[in-house]
């Protein structure tokens, strides 16, 4: 590429911070002991894991023994939902979620539907919000689980989690939240928010990929998902991934330490981007709620053009971003999130997600704002849909 990469896809994954890699390194080649072993290098691994557990717990207001390490955010979601469902099926078989969850939640719920569970997919509004009222009304005598994401990965909308938690707790129904996009970006406290289970994933806050955790409030009935050895106090089998766990602990500590400052920085980048794009480019729509959104998330739909082409041209300018276009999602339809907020297919195909992170600067925004209008215009010039608009036939 030559030029410095302008990476605006932090919601897809972040780089791992050098300090985090540094913290992990000794556990590959030197302190490589199996944490379940009793000899010295095994005990060192064990100690490192327990320190990481403390850090994860501290960052979300939990106790260390309520944290279980997993191999990813997806695993945490699968475990939480299947684990609660199968452990509590004597009590009921109804699950409440939304129609714009991450696939790790959505496909898990669909899997359970095939296995005799009943799932209510609450519709979000045009900004991607659901109301606590909607949740309360969906509760039935056989409801055993409410699973609603903290912050959406595509359009960044943040849900009223504390209010939903309150309702769930009052009704004695377990409440799980997929906080994979929230951790490190917004303050999360499982006690204050009455959260019973929470999923998180290291590679969204400058930790390693393949490192997740599930918070399980003491007392929650949950069956195991990964069967095997007695690791994680007998609840999640497999040889402890010491380097990744250490990295996760280090990353979450760094990410939550100065979250307020980080937020301020991201909001400045995001708001300028949103304001300028809306001003400079016609036929554009901001997706997601203007206020209740992740500090680093800007998501637009540009009419008459398709997302993959947009990404390729941005990439040629050294800008990495993502889209909800079907062509980039590997599925039949454009992003279910964009459809859930009511976008027609053709508009959803032209979406662009920009997610800012630590290393981004206002100069990055400058370059983006320089490149984007030209690229959009270029693709529109090539688009048969734009023709008619230019001819005045603006049926949009």
């Amino acid at each position: 590429m030559g030029e410095k990469l302008i990476y605006l896809d932090h919601s897809a994954t972040t780089y791992t911070k050098p300090e985090v890699v540094e913290a992990m390194l000794p556990y590959f080649t030197q302190n490589y002991g199996n944490a379940s072993s009793i000899y010295s290098i095994g005990r060192e691994s064990k100690k490192a894991i327990e320190e990481a557990r403390e850090k994860v717990a501290a960052s979300i207001g939990a106790q260390a023994k309520e944290i279980f390490f997993t191999g990813s955010g997806t695993e945490a979601d699968n475990w939480a939902i299947k684990g609660v469902a199968y452990a509590n099926k004597a009590k009921g078989n109804h699950i409440i979620t939304t129609n714009f969850e991450h696939h790790a939640v959505l496909h898990t719920c669909q899997y359970l539907e095939n296995d005799g569970f009943e799932v209510t997919y609450l519709p979000v509004d045009e900004n991607g919000l659901i109301t606590p009222q909607q949740v309360a009304e969906a509760i039935k005598p056989n409801t055993i689980l409410i699973t609603i994401m903290f912050a959406n990965n595509e359009i960044g909308t943040i849900q009223p989690i504390a209010e939903i938690g309150k309702i769930a707790r009052e009704k004695g129904i377990y409440f799980h939240t997929d906080a994979v996009q929230a951790i490190g970006n917004v303050q999360v406290n499982v006690k204050d928010m009455n959260i019973d289970l929470l999923s998180l994933s290291g590679h969204k806050f400058y930790g390693p990929k393949g490192a997740g955790a599930l918070y399980v409030r003491k007392g929650v009935k949950l069956i195991s998902y990964m069967h095997g050895g007695a690791q994680e106090r007998g609840r999640r089998a497999s040889t402890e991934n010491v380097p990744s766990i250490v990295g996760l602990g280090k990353a979450i500590e760094l990410a939550t330490a100065n979250i307020d400052e980080y937020n301020k920085k991201l909001i400045a980048l995001r708001d300028r981007t949103i304001d300028e794009v809306m001003k400079k480019i016609p036929f554009v729509k901001l997706n997601g709620h203007r206020e209740h959104r992740l500090p680093g998330n800007a998501n637009f739909s540009f009419q008459f053009i398709e997302g993959e082409s947009l990404l390729l041209l941005l990439d040629m300018k050294g800008i990495a971003a993502s889209s909800g276009s079907a062509c980039t999602s590997g599925s039949l339809d454009p992003s279910h999130v964009l459809l859930a907020i009511g976008l027609p297919h053709e508009i959803a195909h032209g979406s662009l997600r920009l997610t800012f992170g630590e290393e981004n600067t206002q100069e990055d925004v400058d370059k983006l704002l320089e490149a984007l209008p030209t690229i959009v215009e270029r693709l529109r010039e090539m688009s048969p849909l734009y023709e008619s608009v230019k001819r005045g036939n603006q049926n949009v």
């Binding site: 696939h103 496909h107 669909q110 899997y111 008459f304 053009i305 398709e306 993959e308 082409s309 390729l312 041209l313 040629m316 276009s325 079907a326 062509c327 590997g330 599925s331 039949l332 339809d333 454009p334 027609p344 297919h345 053709e346 195909h349 010039e381 090539m382 688009s383 048969p384 849909l385 023709e387």
Partner: protein, 153 residues
């Protein structure tokens, strides 16, 4: 993902635009599926002398459009009708499996434009009256989600 040739045709598409007095115009695909290809042909003495396109779609859609216009020019109508999606893809040094449908679109766009030309000139045989339009999205895309069974690629 894409070959250099695809990227070249995407970045520097040949023959973008419209032909005001085209002899045949064909549009295939639909916005719902995420790709529309519109092909304009200028035909003289049964030979395609000019081709232009407009495309709404992914990189492969743009590149196959561009390549198709290059392939048809200089060919007779009948020769052009023999251009297969495989030929378009090969001329681009291949397409990723998930993008092969874009080359179908190109083939279809050529057919549609030629059909239009024949219709305007009363050259249409009966069996050609059954158009190639009206595809559904799921004819062209694969559903990769939770495809628990062995996939066939």
């Amino acid at each position: 993902m894409y070959s250099e040739k695809v990227m070249d045709h995407f970045m520097n598409p040949r023959n973008v635009g419209e032909i005001e007095d085209a002899d045949g115009v064909g549009q295939v695909g639909n916005a719902k599926c995420g790709d529309i290809m519109k092909m304009y042909l200028k035909i003289e003495n049964d030979i395609i002398v000019e081709a232009k396109f407009k495309t709404f779609g992914c990189g492969a859609a743009v590149a196959t459009s561009s390549m198709s216009t290059e392939l048809v020019v200089g060919k007779t109508v009948d020769e052009a009708l023999k251009i297969t999606n495989k030929a378009v893809a090969e001329a681009l040094d291949g397409l990723p499996p998930a993008k092969m449908h874009c080359s179908n679109l190109a083939e279809e766009a050529i057919r549609a434009a030629i059909e239009d030309y024949k219709r305007k000139n009363g050259l249409l045989s009966e069996c050609e009256m059954a158009g190639s339009c009206g595809r559904r999205c799921d004819d062209i895309h694969h559903d990769h989600n939770d495809n628990d069974e062995e996939d066939e690629d």
